[in-house]
Symmetry: C2
Subunit: 360 residues, 2 copies
DNA sequence: ATTAGCACTCTATATGTTTAAGTGCTAATC
DNA sequence: GATTAGCACTTAAACATATAGAGTGCTAAT
């Protein structure tokens, strides 16, 4: 009987020894290939280690005790746990290079169409699905701190105004709203001209503009600001809550999931339903993408019972994208099975997020 | 042995006799309730006809011969065929009234938010999913013949221009594009002012505007149109191909399908995959919604092997929506199983399409 | 420290049996 | 002549049982 200390030394719980690493890697890569539990015989035959199945079994038992792998039932091979995948991604994986062909594909598909931002983000979600054969997702940026470029008001009909807000990064938002007193188009034009003067001078955000206006009204000697209808301003004021939780319908783009559901894990009916519900509900995906957006670094969420249970059985790889001013950002991601081809998907996410940051 | 003529008389292939209709209705409604094949005993006990199971069996055999029902296997009950559903929808079904609560729900959810058209259409797709518990879909309108309200050009950076095109129905399109020679903002403003003058006078579409400009340039004595940069015009000229097959990514809104996949037909793995692929591929749905848009009437597509096989095993109920000028339109729809609750869904589609036509 | 050998466990597969549902047909009945 | 009771038949689904195969943990030998 070995003591706990001896075991801890042997397998070095924090950073597995060479042999354990090799076997864990073998199990994970074997499982990637077949989607079936991997047994000691397979490892013995396929790894560089010249060990008998019996020795491998010893090490496997320890890896299982340490939580990196598990057995679906007594006489089955081993499957990586979330902890196992995590260790793989952090320490074992050799990241592939993105191919030239993929690079070209990304460049062509994201630059050829002269679309607005919504069109580009939608295109990115489709592109990510196509490249990964999983499901691409894109979280639209939050515009609340973006600098303005231009504001325009158009009278659609009596008491109904359309506000067009153009941000410095090319994003436009349109919002139609009603006011209590009708305003003629030429008065609206004077109003927007005045706002655009301020915008050009101060390079401010929507909130910033609001502050400036309030101050100018305060010092308004010439009474010029009588034309500033505060009703309009409060209507456009909250346009910028682009993806708060009330309007989350419009902030997540999901690429086609036709390839993803062909993965063998989704031959189980419960799993496919969980996947579709998770994706079509959107809320949890938005929450996780929001994490990445806030943390400003690439993140990998591996869903288990204990951690990220909202995507239990699924993995989500995400990275933020940023505008030229480093202010505005959202995030992109790929959803797949735990058994995801991390070494292929991660460079795709890296390249697309970087490329996207460059063009918006 | 009966002759064919006698049978034809008895069951009146074109318009089933009273007794056959009653039994077909019983089978269909029974199948709606349980999703299981319906046998003669069930009909004998649940229909108004006081007939023994044996008599019902006779009639069932004829209904099967005529193609309205079929048996999944020899000793099973009967299931309606696509032809059976069609007959039900056309002749047997009593349409329910939409409830006051549903009406209010629709009105609140489509008027409360002051969104742009894209936001409304997205909201409609979600609303349809919620009300029907199936999957709502919405095809965005084709803007190529829509009247213009306003055009605006904004210089984003050197040689990069953002065009904002506002249509009379409140739809806005934004398109960023590059030109070969830089143009200052004040020249762009002069240009758009001129275009807006024409728009206000002539109430024309984008194509119409193009024609007018070409003609005016032809008669341009004062050389005013030197500022009309044809490069710009050709760039915005093809903005309006809103949902041609090259850009179909952006023209279909699909509501959440979480409820739909809980229907018992999707406990079969093949069927759920077909559903997800059909929905995520979009092309076929767009095609079918396009039919309705062009025919300008409500339509019901019941997918079988023979007809509408692209949605085999699914039903799609669609109706067009139109703008105030009766020119611009798209269509809305609900996708569900063949065993869809038609009498509930059809009035929802009717009301929503009418209501939507009223507000855009 | 490693491994051959073996008993053991569990799944997957095939096979046979039973049950229940529902049919089509025939002959009797209204 | 229309209706129906009765019955033999078909099939799927549920259940039980046997078998093969994969893979394990443990022990004793190397």
């Amino acid at each position: 009987m070995k003591t706990l200390e001896e075991k801890a030394e042997k397998f070095n719980y924090n950073d597995l020894n060479e042999r354990s690493r090799e076997i864990l890697l073998g199990i994970i890569e074997g499982y990637f290939g077949t989607a079936n539990p991997v047994g000691s015989k397979f490892i013995a035959e396929n790894s560089k280690l010249n060990l008998s199945p019996a020795s491998i079994r010893n090490i496997m038992a320890s890896l299982e005790e340490a939580g990196y792998i598990y057995q679906p039932h007594f006489s089955a091979g081993r499957i990586p746990t979330a902890k196992g995948y995590k260790f793989y991604v952090d320490s074992l994986m050799k990241t592939e290079q993105i191919t030239l062909k993929e690079k070209e594909d990304i460049e062509i598909r994201l630059t050829s169409a002269n679309r607005d931002l919504n069109g580009i983000l939608n295109q990115v979600s489709i592109l990510l699905s196509d490249l990964s054969h999983y499901a691409g997702v894109v979280l639209a940026p939050d515009m609340s701190e973006a600098n303005l470029l231009h504001i325009e008001f158009i009278r659609i009909k009596e008491k109904n105004i359309l506000a067009i807000i153009v941000f410095a990064n090319g994003v436009t938002e349109n919002k139609s709203f009603y006011i209590t007193k009708d305003i003629k188009q030429n008065e609206l034009t004077r109003y927007s001209n005045k706002l655009n003067e301020i915008i050009e001078k101060k390079h401010c955000s929507l909130d910033g503009l609001k502050e400036i206006i309030v101050e100018e009204i305060h010092n308004d000697k010439e009474n010029f600001y009588s034309i500033l209808n505060m009703e309009i301003f409060s209507s456009i004021g909250n346009v910028s809550g682009y993806w708060d939780y009330e309007h989350y319908d419009n902030c997540l783009y999901v690429g086609p999931e036709g390839d993803l559901i062909e993965e063998p894990e989704f031959s189980n009916n419960e799993q496919i339903k969980f996947l579709i519900k998770t994706i079509s509900d959107k809320k949890n995906i938005i929450k996780l993408l929001g994490h990445t957006k806030n943390s400003k670094t690439k993140q990998i969420f591996i869903g288990s019972e204990e951690e990220w249970s909202e995507i239990s059985g699924l993995s989500l790889i995400t990275a933020p994208y940023i505008s030229g001013t480093n202010m505005i950002m959202g995030s992109i991601g790929i959803i797949g099975p735990l058994r995801m081809n991390y070494s292929h998907v991660i460079p795709i996410i890296d390249f697309v997020s970087e490329f996207l940051s460059g063009i918006i």
